[in-house]
Amino acid sequence: MNLPSYFFADLPPEAELTPTMITEACQALKRNREKYLAARSTPSLVNLLGELGAEWRLPDFPYRKLALEQGPALTGFSSATLEHGLDAFFQELTADNLEALLVQELGEGSRLDKFAAAEAESGARRQALARGPELLAHVAAGNLPNPAWMSLVLGVLTRSAQFMKCASGASYLPRLFAHSLYEMDKKLGACLEIAEWRGGNLAVEAALFAEADCVTATGGDAALAEIRSRLPADVRFLGYGHQLSFAYITAAAFAGGRLANTVEQAAVDVAAWDQQGCLSPHVIYVETGGNVMPERFAALLAEALERREAVMPRGTLSPEVAATIASRRSLYEVRSAHAPEDTKHWCSTGSTAWTVVFESDPRFQPSCLNRFIYVKGVKNLTEALQAADPVQGQVSTVGLAAPAAQAAELAPELARWGVSRVCPLGKMQHPPLAWRHDGRPALGDLITWTDLEV
């Protein structure tokens, strides 16, 4: 199956986009939105997106098949890793979850269609109507497709025309999703554009920003600041900066025969999307003082990653990225030869597929990713948070393995420290549809309210 040329990103790579092309495309998107999308009802869009989510989970769905067949060459993920990631996302894309998201974000599910009161407001003779941006521009980062897919879903809910600019070489999966939407509903598809260019093409980007009402951007902090500086003053900017994540395992998480499962869940989080997302752990903190020492956990995790490699291999790396792993490994090899009580390491043989490094020094260490994980022992969460001090404020997710009562005690401490999401170990790269990205309202940040006092 060949993808038809609906989007700029479908054009051959040598096709160059000009500012005029961008301006004209944006204006066409806005006209199409007015004609085909602005008056659509929320239930119809929710049902359509829910159906699309179900389709993507069918083994024979052509776009899914394409993603799994061509994805490895075009994205660097193995087919099994892609499948795991696709399922994690599309399992969540259901009509029920979308309705719950609308209620969570808007207080009431129909407020994008009409003035309505949330339950808490009903006695106060107030109603409100939510409006989305006319043209929503997305500057998507590379690596993972989930944030790009989610951005597109939210933009459909807000009835926005959408123009997504992908990082160079990273448009394939967003494009497939847009094609599947187009296929399902051509009029809706006509309100979408997907393009790819190398960031920093100022003239083309200026043309896009001049037409947009709201720009979302994912990327490094410097890149976001730079984009923000180029936006017209009346354009709303939603930036999702560089975040990282870690896991925390309490000593009690190993009790009562739970060790094997805890190790397995940790391996799931390290392997998902080859650890490339903001939600993937860099470090796993393991409490000392229980019956499983951090070194032993690290050794078991290495075995689990080896088993996972057999069924869900890591993707192919460029020599540059592999060299980073090889160089780091050789340093830890030297350290473990000289101070084995402080450093131990486990590596896949004949490849860089996975690496586990145990260090007695609890200081947070950013991983070079691609299934390279640090395991560090700490006495308690307080010590772990002290050790992670250099990344305070940049931590998205903490994957927590602890009995429920203990987790309930630890979560407030993590929240006060600044973590924006706490989830069970094994679910780090599997957030619910309605999760608040970087702690911000998912849909709420996109809309503008009109209040009505009656």
């Binding site: 540059e320 980073t324 860089t352």
Partner: protein
């Protein structure tokens, strides 16, 4: 340093004297040189295994014993980063009369490569042997780095000082200086005066410096709208990365600018590849008196070998493929002969093309290195 290492150094010097000119298409290495290299390498490995405890520990952790190494390609290589953390030397503390440090303004802890008088002499024999095989002895050096008394721990400056002494030039051939913050700067007035003098005397120059020192010079000349045409026969040799000390230029662009501002054609601009952890250097220009054929590639002297190792599999890569550069350098007699760098290169038939450094440390706030 033990008698056995002295003895090794003496024999290596003979090998260097015999083979320094044996490279390139016209006069390749003799078959017996290959055998001699292989023999010397295994012999040196045995000596270092016995006398370098830090190295021995690494070998043993890898399960390598003397008897398991039967070919020089099996000698365990030590990552350059290990020189920051360990004392990788055969010298007892009281024998360490000199130390070379890795450069770079961002390093928390530099590499330390210890030397004694004998190992420095061997370093110079190695450096001189191969440098002189590429650059004519009558060229007058003009050196863009600080002088050795300001940079006693730079192996590069040590080599440049040797070149200066060998060519009977005054200490003023160094036109760089150390700034108060420790960075290397250029005395532009003196550099320009020396360039002008060489043109006036019609004496070909041998301009030596780091890539960033050339950028400093070229930027200053551009600012004054000045161009020199150095006398025919002049040569330029640049080395090293930028290390954040100037704007970064692609190699071809740097060489084009040098040509434009100094009048030295690109064919006469060469690169050196060396580091404080090594005692031999690689060059990417043809042998003295022979043109550089085809695409440039770095080649080490006959007493050192570069291998390109696949970072993915750990095995040597085929010609045309990319790998991490690993060097076996017999002139590293009192430290470790097998060095694993973090530099990526593409394997060429006669050597390698340098691509650049793997990113070992992430820049985000945390360092891989423990606090000093």
């Amino acid at each position: 340093m033990t008698d056995s290492l002295y003895n090794f150094a003496a024999r290596l010097r003979e090998f260097i004297a015999a083979t320094a000119g044996r490279f390139g298409a016209a006069s390749p290495l003799h078959a017996q040189d290959e055998v001699a290299f292989a023999t010397l390498a295994l012999e040196l490995f045995a000596l270092q295994f016995a006398h370098n405890p830090a190295y021995r520990k690494i070998c043993e952790a890898r399960g390598v014993a003397l008897a398991t190494v039967t070919h020089w390609t099996q000698i365990p290589a030590v990552p350059t980063a290990a020189f920051k953390e360990l004392e990788l030397t055969c010298l007892a503390p009281e024998q360490r009369t000199a130390v070379f440090h890795s450069s770079g303004t961002t390093e928390q802890r530099p590499s330390r490569h210890f030397h004694c008088a004998e190992s420095l002499a061997l370093y110079e024999t190695s450096a001189r042997g191969f440098f002189n095989a590429h650059y004519a002895p009558e060229l007058r050096p003009l050196i863009l780095t600080p002088p050795p008394e300001q940079t006693p721990h730079s192996s590069l400056v040590h080599m440049f000082e040797m070149i200066r002494r060998d060519r009977n030039q005054p200490a003023s051939a160094f036109v760089g200086a150390l700034a108060a913050d420790g960075s290397w700067v250029l005395n532009l007035e003196r550099a320009q005066a020396d360039l002008a003098q060489a043109i006036c005397d019609d004496t070909p120059l041998l301009l030596l410096g780091t890539a960033f020192s050339f950028v400093h010079l070229l930027d200053a000349l551009a600012e004054q709208n000045l161009k020199f045409r150095l006398p025919t026969g002049s040569r330029v040799m640049e080395t090293g990365g930028y290390k954040g000390r100037s704007r970064t230029l692609p190699k071809a662009e740097l060489h084009a600018l040098i040509s434009d501002r100094l009048g030295v054609p690109p064919a006469h601009i060469g690169c050196e590849y060396g580091m404080s952890e090594l005692s031999s250097q690689a060059y990417d220009t043809g042998k003295l008196g022979e043109p550089t054929y085809g695409e440039r590639s770095f080649h080490f002297p006959p007493w050192a070998r570069a291998q390109l190792i696949s970072p993915e599999t750990g095995r040597a890569v085929a010609v045309g493929e990319t790998g991490l550069i690993r060097i076996v350098d017999l002139a590293n007699a009192v430290s470790v002969l097998a060095i694993q760098t973090e530099d990526l290169g593409v394997r060429h038939p006669g050597g390698f093309k340098l691509l650049g450094r793997a990113q070992l440390a992430e820049s985000r706030g945390c360092s891989l290195m423990p606090a000093a």
